[in-house]
């Protein structure tokens, strides 16, 4: 059984500017894999390359043993769903219409949805807690609501692999926990493979099975949260001192910011 994602010597550049330099790693099926790293370290680019919307300069990404660029877009979308970082805000569709569009890769060429598509959309809206917004136009939603609707659309796609780009960035703590718990639950119950880009090191520590720490397009470290979230490696990646101790909730690391006045009293 090939891994869900197998990134092999991936190099991506925008024009002449290299963004990813020779990245290789594997994501086993059913893993909760979280990519962390400072701003402009290539996290989003890596996710886009995994979704097959960026053409690598060298190397390749294999999804279940086949190169992403060999899949047709429709065949790929039947297995892989993605939640991009920012959604356009000028869309006039209602929440339910947008969530239903998640069924697109499974529809025939007439593009008409069947009753079971509507059922799946209702289920996706229920588990992301947006059912009460179903008839609202997207333009009227808050940032957090929109984010949950887009996750609902991705779940409605019934993917085996879900790629998320900072899905909790606009959410309050309650919805952050809800979304992350939901991902963990889908992973446990349905065997969904989740790859997520996150800025939140503690979220990564608490939910990730495996982390990948990037800096300037290169891998600093990868492995379990305990292996990756060490003082030395974090300082190397972020260039600042961070306090790492053990989270009292479980045996995972906890990372805290260290204000300068605590360093030099």
């Amino acid at each position: 059984m090939p891994p869900a994602v197998w990134v092999k010597h991936l190099q991506v550049s925008y024009g002449k500017q290299p963004v990813l330099r020779d990245i290789s790693f594997e994501v086993p099926e059913g893993a909760f894999f979280i990519i962390i790293g400072p701003n402009s370290s290539g996290k989003t680019t890596l996710l886009k390359a995994m979704a097959g919307v960026l053409k690598p300069r060298q190397g390749q990404v294999e999804i279940w043993g086949t190169s992403v660029r060999q899949y047709g877009r429709k065949a790929l979308a039947q297995m892989v769903a993605a939640v991009p970082q920012r959604a356009p805000s000028d869309i006039q569709f209602t929440v339910q219409e947008l969530v239903l569009m998640g069924r697109s890769p499974h529809m025939g060429w007439l593009g008409l949805e069947k009753p079971q598509d509507l059922e799946l959309a209702r289920e996706a809206m229920a588990i992301t807690d947006v059912t009460h917004l179903a008839r609202r136009p997207l333009q009227q939603l808050s940032g957090g609501e929109l984010q949950r609707v887009i996750i609902a659309r991705a779940l409605c796609q019934q993917p085996r692999l879900l790629l998320l780009d900072e899905p909790t960035a606009a959410l309050d703590p309650a919805h952050q926990v809800n979304i992350m718990d939901l991902m963990a639950q889908l992973k446990a119950e349905r065997g969904l493979t989740v790859v997520m880009v996150s800025h939140d090191l503690n979220l990564a520590a608490m939910y990730g099975d495996q982390l990948l720490l990037l800096k300037e397009g290169q891998r600093i470290s990868s492995g379990t949260p305990k292996e990756v979230l060490t003082y030395e490696q974090l300082e190397q990646a972020y260039g600042c001192a961070l306090l790492v101790d053990e989270n009292p909730l479980g045996k995972v690391p906890r990372v805290s910011l260290v204000p300068r006045r605590f360093l030099h009293p």
Binding site: A51, G52, A77, A87, P88, F93
Partner: protein, 335 residues
């Protein structure tokens, strides 16, 4: 808004019924009203051919008004659909069917044809078609090979090529001093009077497959509204779908332009009108634009024939004079 709660099938049914009735009503009015007045019994008899084969009214209805009404319907439907597609494809609400330089190229071609003194058909029409196709190809060649920012530069190149063509048109008009000038101006304002039965029928056979292709691309058009990246995540081959839409739409708009000149405003406003009324779903908007846009131009053409006591006025005048206030009214009401 209860309309958006209706399931898709129900919405389509309503659009088909109301649009069908509107189109039938417009066709009937367009064929029975004109500079030769007659009572409705007389009209009905002539329409059904009961007045005998030599009847003058039967001839007028079927040989003169019929083709013209058919042409008006086809032009209206094509321009509305073209505007709808370009507005979605370029994600720009100001896009109209002429946006990629089709109008400018066609006008230069047509004016050259008229200046040389060719017959309106096939000479002038052919030159107009060649003109629009060459400007379109120019725009596509300029923007070829760009990926991410393609829409912005596509739009800009189209506007620039059109601007250049306008300059050429002005130049040609300024050196034309004789009786051909009114003909040219009339063509520029949109003219449906050059229709002949066979030409409208040929146009019908060419346009129907184009309409069908676009109808089947309704769901991809919806996905394109979400942005290229998201459309790809949802399984759409964005490059292929955009190319197909661009080609089919440009082809049918060019064909229409070379038949009828530049009928303004329909392609810009009819799609917006229906988007205000029916929401953003292209599976509903495409049939609505076909039926509604066709009816709209038939009725505007009727006004342009009937209103002036002598002769006709350009149909483009009517489309804008009726459409702009209607649109502003709907826009204000929707706020």
């Amino acid at each position: 808004m209860s309309w958006s709660r209706l399931p898709l099938g129900r919405r389509l049914l309503w659009v088909a019924i109301l649009g069908g009735v509107l189109l039938a009503f417009s066709l009937a009015l367009g064929m029975c009203l004109g500079s030769t007045p007659a009572g409705w019994r007389r009209n009905l008899a002539a329409f059904l051919g009961r007045s005998g084969p030599e009847d003058i009214l039967t001839t007028i209805i079927w040989r003169l008004r019929g083709p013209r009404v058919l042409l008006a319907g086809l032009v209206g439907a094509t321009l509305s659909l073209g505007g709808l597609v370009f507005q979605a494809l370029l994600r720009n609400p100001l896009a109209d069917p002429y946006i990629l330089g089709i109008s400018g190229g066609a006008a230069v071609g047509a004016i050259l044809g008229l200046l040389v003194g060719w017959a309106p058909f096939p000479g002038v029409a052919l030159l107009a078609f060649l003109g629009s196709m060459s400007t379109l190809m120019l725009v596509l060649v300029i923007t070829a090979g760009e990926s991410g920012t393609r829409k912005g530069s596509l739009l800009l190149s189209g506007v620039m090529v059109n601007a250049f063509c306008s300059a050429v048109i002005m130049f040609l008009l300024s050196i034309t001093q004789d009786t051909r000038l009114p003909n040219i101006l009339y063509w520029l304002m949109g003219d449906l009077s050059m229709s002949a039965p066979d030409r409208a029928t040929v146009l019908l056979y060419v346009l129907l497959p184009c309409f069908l292709v676009i109808l089947f691309l309704a769901r991809p058009l919806n996905l394109l509204l979400l942005g290229e990246e998201t459309a790809m995540y949802l399984g759409l081959n964005v490059a292929a779908a955009s190319r197909l839409l661009l080609l089919v739409t440009s082809l049918m708009v060019s064909l229409v332009v070379c038949q009828s000149g530049l009928v303004g405003f329909v392609g810009l406003v009819v799609p917006h009108l229906f988007r205000l009324l029916l929401g953003p779903d292209h599976r509903v908007l495409i049939p609505a634009c076909l039926l509604g846009g066709g009816s709209y131009l038939i009725l505007c053409d009727l006004l342009s024939r009937v209103l002036p006591s002598q002769g006709e006025m350009p149909v483009g005048v009517v489309t804008a004079m009726v459409g702009a206030p209607l649109f502003i009214f709907l826009l204000m009401r929707s706020r």
